[in-house]
């Protein structure tokens, strides 16, 4: 168990491709950190640098108090779970778990004790003699986690461990990973591109974009107060509605279309306004007030069971809008719809930088 400290870590690949551009994160002991971002944002590279599988171009990584920049992966006291599990195909489950311990010269009965213990925790005791080929995807995933657990490392590193599973199993394993991490209390760094996985697992989220940190924070804080339009559109599903607006006198209007009115509370000329689909309320007739008021046409109704989503557009074109409505609401395509969002639910972003304006 240990803290992990990243201090302005950079990674430059041959050909001057800068994959990670100076990232600093302090990870507390026992914390579950999720690195999330789209493909190519540098999240896997960052994790692999912590693991020691990639060299660090500049910056420092410390595990505990030890600087590990030049330390071999095997000596960093970490364990990693890979996306494709990376189990040794020719070894039985038992040997897959035991291999790393054997290489460390651990005594046979201690290895046996640890493997049995991990097998008990993960409920894989019944197939310790099988080869990975004879296991299902979920079972392989457990074995891969078992291989991490037996090491009793200072930190777990997860590299998109659930992406190869089907949707149902993914939810199940997600809960299990969280439960496991809570009971073991081991510092964990988890990489994913799935914002839902990120939200549900993390103690703190690190949202990465283009090799830079966009925002670090507890999932609910990131959701409630996205630091930029990137975070706003990446976290949450369906994504937050982002609308380009300009000031007209004392109020706000949509750029390039009609159908929006609102109070300009921030005093600038141009913004990007963000409203989450669930914060748009359907009202019977146009209303005025602080916050934002909208007038749109229904395009498509998408029922998903517990709720429905309405995809709507403005009278003169412009951006599309997603609105969450109750599952029993009736909205015909082509129908006019009046919406309002309370002032506290409206996010303002700088029109040029995309950063949050408070």
């Amino acid at each position: 168990m240990a803290t992990i400290t990243l201090d302005t870590v950079r990674k430059v690949y041959a050909g001057d491709v800068e994959a990670v551009k100076g990232v600093s994160i302090d990870i507390a002991d026992g914390e579950f950190i999720v690195l999330v971002g789209p493909s190519g944002c540098g999240k896997s590279t960052l994790l692999r640098m912590v693991a020691g599988l990639e060299d660090i171009t500049t910056g420092e990584i410390k595990i505990g108090d030890r600087l590990v920049n030049k330390v071999d992966p095997a000596d960093r006291d970490i364990a990693m779970v890979f996306q494709n599990y990376a189990l040794y195909p020719h070894m039985s489950v038992y040997n897959n778990l035991a291999y790393g311990l054997k290489n460390r010269g651990m005594a046979k009965d201690e290895i046996d004790r640890r493997v049995k213990e991990a097998a008990r925790i993960l409920e894989i005791g019944d197939y310790l003699d099988r080869k990975p080929r004879a296991l299902s995807g979920g079972q392989r995933q457990r074995v891969a986690m078992g291989r991490a657990i037996v090491r009793e490392p200072a930190a777990f590193l997860f590299d998109e461990p659930l992406s190869n599973l089907d949707a149902k199993l993914r939810v199940q394993m997600r809960v299990e990973i969280k439960r496991l991490q809570q009971s073991l209390g081991t510092t964990s760094v988890y990489v994913t591109h799935d914002q839902l996985e990120a939200m549900t697992l993390a103690d703190r989220l690190v949202v990465l974009n283009g090799g830079n940190i966009e925002q670090i924070g507890a999932p609910i804080d990131v959701y409630d107060k996205p630091a930029s339009t990137f975070v706003a559109s990446f976290i949450g599903s369906p994504a937050m509605n982002l609308l380009n607006v300009k000031s007209n006198g004392s109020g706000l209007a949509l750029e390039g279309s009609e159908g929006l009115s609102g109070a300009n509370t921030k005093g600038k000329d141009k913004y990007i306004v963000g409203i989450r689909p669930e914060h748009l309320e359907v009202v019977d007739s146009p209303v005025d007030g602080d916050g934002i008021n909208l007038e749109v046409n229904v395009d498509v109704l998408e029922p998903v069971g517990a709720e429905s989503f309405v995809y709507a557009s403005f009278p003169n074109g412009g951006p599309e809008l997603v609105v969450r409505v109750s599952s029993h609401a009736h909205h015909e395509p082509g129908e006019k719809m009046y919406l309002k969002a309370a002032a506290k639910d409206v996010h303002f972003f700088d029109a040029d930088s995309g950063r949050r304006v408070d």
């Binding site: 020691g52 992966p73 990376a86 195909p89 291999y99």
Partner: protein, 280 residues
């Protein structure tokens, strides 16, 4: 389902006939005495000299020096076949391991140089090869027979392709598990390559077994003769009015065919696996 027609069977039968007939005729002829064969040519019925002929070729010393019998030649061929195949596998696996897993200057250049030697058969470089082996004093030794042949572009190429298809994560997992380069090779790559090794072993064993030109050059001592050479040796003995021992040559040919056939039959399922499927 496709219904088999009589013509299909005819085609298959013709194929079998062309493949098997020479072997069968060789065997049948090998059971007669030399005089019958000399008078009547190839024989189509079994003769009564089976035991006699095979005993003669296996255990009776022949050749010019009367020091070598079929059994010794069989042993020599075995040594050549196994040494050749095993040597080639070891060398080409190590070469492929270096090329795929280690970053060293001109790695891909090295690979292409090795690969280019595929285009140069032994016959092209036989004189310089002989010169080197001769100056090292390795003429008439088993190592002289085997070592100059074991560098293998084909093997290196196959193992390289195989290693490249092994997922990188396996190497990374092994590194985190504390396996160094040697342990990774020994504990993970070699076991994974089992079927590939079997496939290459078969090809190389048969190839080594059938070597003729190189053993002819490098072994002048009859006690080092291989079977394939021995067959020719029997037919070459034209002393006085002696009839060439066609029967013994045929028997020896049959004996020379047996080990490669056995190897292929035994390793057949592995061989097919190694070529068509991967266990990763």
């Amino acid at each position: 389902m496709y219904k088999l027609k009589i013509t299909d069977h005819l085609i298959l039968l013709a194929g079998v006939f062309f493949m098997v007939a020479p072997v069968v005729l060789t065997f049948l002829t090998s059971t007669h005495d030399a005089i019958t064969i000399y008078k009547g040519g190839v024989q189509f019925v079994p003769g009564d000299k089976f035991l006699e002929n095979y005993e003669t070729v296996l255990f009776q010393a022949g050749g010019f020096t009367k020091e070598v019998n079929g059994f010794v030649m069989l042993k020599n061929s075995m040594i050549l076949g196994f040494g050749f195949a095993i040597g080639k596998i070891i060398i080409s696996m190590l070469a492929a391991y270096a090329i795929v897993y280690f970053r060293f200057p001109f790695a891909s250049f090295c690979f292409w140089i090795i690969f280019a030697t595929l285009l140069l058969p032994l016959e092209v470089r036989i004189l310089p090869s002989y010169e080197i082996v001769q100056s090292l004093g390795m003429v008439n030794t088993y190592s002289g027979l085997i070592v100059p042949l074991i560098a293998s572009a084909t093997g290196t190429f196959f193992f390289r392709q195989f290693f490249m298809s092994v997922p990188d994560e396996l190497l990374e997992a092994a590194r985190i598990d504390g396996a160094g380069p040697w342990k990774f090779f020994k504990d993970i790559l070699v076991p994974l390559s089992k079927t590939m090794i079997a496939a290459i072993f078969i090809i190389m064993f048969v190839f080594g077994w059938n070597q003729y030109l190189w053993p002819t050059l490098i072994t002048t001592d009859e006690s080092l003769f291989t079977l394939v050479r021995g067959i020719k040796q029997i037919l070459q003995v034209w002393v006085g009015a002696q009839i060439p021992d066609f029967n013994e040559a045929m028997a020896l040919a049959i004996l020379a065919m047996l080990p490669p056939v056995l190897i292929v039959v035994i390793f057949q399922s592995w061989f097919v696996k190694g070529l068509v499927e991967s266990d990763k």
